[in-house]
């Protein structure tokens, strides 16, 4: 389905962001936009997500929660630090003919960071320890240099593309293939001379599996980050066996007082060696309002055109809810998700959810 509105949306995203910024995607990108900080300020992984830096740990304990309860460092000694995330999700599907409730652990991770040569060489591992058998999400060695604030990462890592939302079910995460389930093996180079953040990764393109062809995936993201906002572009090409995938798009965000907005638009094109190419369009818009410190309200909107050659098949997804940081190391959020598909679709994905997220 061709979407005549896409151009205005892209223009609006960029025009209404006075000076946008940067960079990299982040586990909670709105926090990065709200503070005007780069993702690497708070996360060991320079492109965001996962284990926190010393600054990120202090920030999470002193600036996020409603109340302080002392301070607990994440470093075991002067070169070794640990971290972790544990999420418990309770959800219900009130609109289904047979309502279904569930308790699940969508994430139980442990991170270890070894700063072998301070500010030069570090090793980082993010291990998924539950809810099923263990597996490695990220494992890489990183060389850093003061010149241009550059780094070189080698190993298995999340690819630098777009807003690194925590919610992998958003269309811009699930459909683009850049999410927490699809780390890949390769090398990544980046520079972050303020206000620019630029990342380029060359990986197998097998999303964590052993290489199965000579083609490689090249993924890049560039952004400008300023105090009131950020703007950036991302692109990826993956030459695989029998097909090629191109993904490209833009993302932006800005902050005004207690109000934070961010969004992303992506085009996903799969071109098989034989047959016709398919093109998808995914978009995302998110608004946050900080009621008081530690209490954030959020409204999100997602749009998906799963095949531009088929009409009347679009899907939308809206979420609204509340995020609380009642104390250090704890996030509690409750959301209602309104998933709107074509009328004859059999899946009803509307749900009410409450999530407890412990992190350190």
């Amino acid at each position: 389905m061709k979407q005549p509105w896409i151009l205005p949306v892209v223009v609006a995203l960029f025009l209404f962001v006075p000076s946008v910024s940067a960079a990299s995607p982040d586990r909670e990108p709105y926090l990065s936009v709200r503070t005007g900080l780069r993702c690497s300020q708070c996360h060991t992984n320079r492109t965001g997500g996962g284990g926190r830096t010393a600054f990120g740990s202090v920030f999470a304990q002193t600036r996020l929660p409603i109340g302080r309860r002392g301070f607990r460092g994440r470093s075991l000694n002067d070169w070794l630090a640990i971290g972790g995330n544990l999420r418990l999700l309770a959800s219900g599907t009130p609109r289904q003919s047979t309502p279904r409730t569930a308790l699940a652990i969508p994430e139980a991770n442990v991170q270890i960071e070894a700063r072998l040569v301070p500010d030069v060489l570090s090793v980082y591992v993010d291990e998924i320890v539950g809810p099923n058998s263990a597996s490695t999400r990220e494992a890489f060695a990183m060389l850093e240099a003061r010149t241009l604030d550059a780094y070189l990462k080698v190993g298995k890592f999340l690819l630098p593309y777009g807003l690194r939302l925590v919610d992998d079910t958003e269309f811009i995460r699930g459909r683009t293939g850049f999410n927490y389930a699809t780390p890949d093996q390769g090398v990544e180079f980046g520079i972050e001379p303020a206000p620019l953040s630029l990342f380029v990764a060359v990986t197998n393109g097998t999303q964590g599996a052993d290489e199965n062809n000579n083609g490689k995936q090249v993924t890049g993201s560039a952004a400008l980050i300023f105090r009131p906002g950020r703007i950036g572009v991302s692109a990826s090409r993956n030459e695989g066996p029998g097909s090629r995938r191109d993904v490209y798009g833009g993302f932006a965000g800005f902050n005004l007082g207690r109000f934070t907005v961010l969004g992303e638009v992506d085009v996903i094109r799969d071109t098989p060696e034989t047959g016709t190419a398919t093109e998808q369009l995914a978009a995302y818009l998110e608004g946050n309002f900080l009621l008081v410190r530690g209490v954030n309200t959020k409204v999100t909107y997602g749009f998906l055109d799963p095949d531009s050659d088929i009409g009347e098949n679009a899907r939308t997804r809206a979420r609204f809810g509340l995020e609380l940081f009642p104390m250090p190391f704890l996030q509690v959020s409750t959301f209602y998700t309104l998933d709107q598909n074509i009328p004859q679709a059999t899946d009803d994905l509307d749900r009410l959810s409450i999530e407890f997220h412990a992190f350190f």
Binding site: Q3, W5, V9, F16, R100, P106, I128, N132, S133, A134, S135, D168, R175, A181, T182, G205, Q207, G208, A209, D210, G215, Q217, S236, N238, E239, G240, G242, S243, R244, R245, F254, L256, G257, R258, F259, V261, D270, T274, G275, A283, L285, V299, Y301, F303, I310, G311, E312, N313, A314, R315, T316, A318, Q340, N341, I342, P343, Q344, A345, T346, L349
Partner: protein
Amino acid sequence: MGARGVAAVAVLLVVGVGCPGEGTGLDPFGKPLTDAVPLGPTLSGIQANIFTPICTQCHTGSAAPLGLALDAGVARQNLLGVGSEEISELLRVNPGKPDSSYIVWKIEGRDGIVGLRMPRNLPPLQADQITAIREWIANGAEAN
């Protein structure tokens, strides 16, 4: 532009951006009705009713997770006799042996799987869908 102006722009964007499709001429999976194939223990039935509409929301093209593309034309070759990336002792599809095929473990959410039950972030497959895949494997996972 003040905060109220920004909020107004955001609301206008959300309202004006787009609504779900009306689904005219489409099956429940958003595909043209002319492509409809009944679900059964055949590759074509599984492809049309499970792999293409559900699995290829992620497992598609060159960027398929763990290299497992389930697009029409390549799904069988990526499954049949191919070792699982997550549990190396198991094949993704072991012809004739559904209980030792990792794809069955994943869609049934058995103890011992790595990662989440498939389809990830979607409701589990329905019983008749799982049965179709089990029977297709039990019958030799033919290209039928």
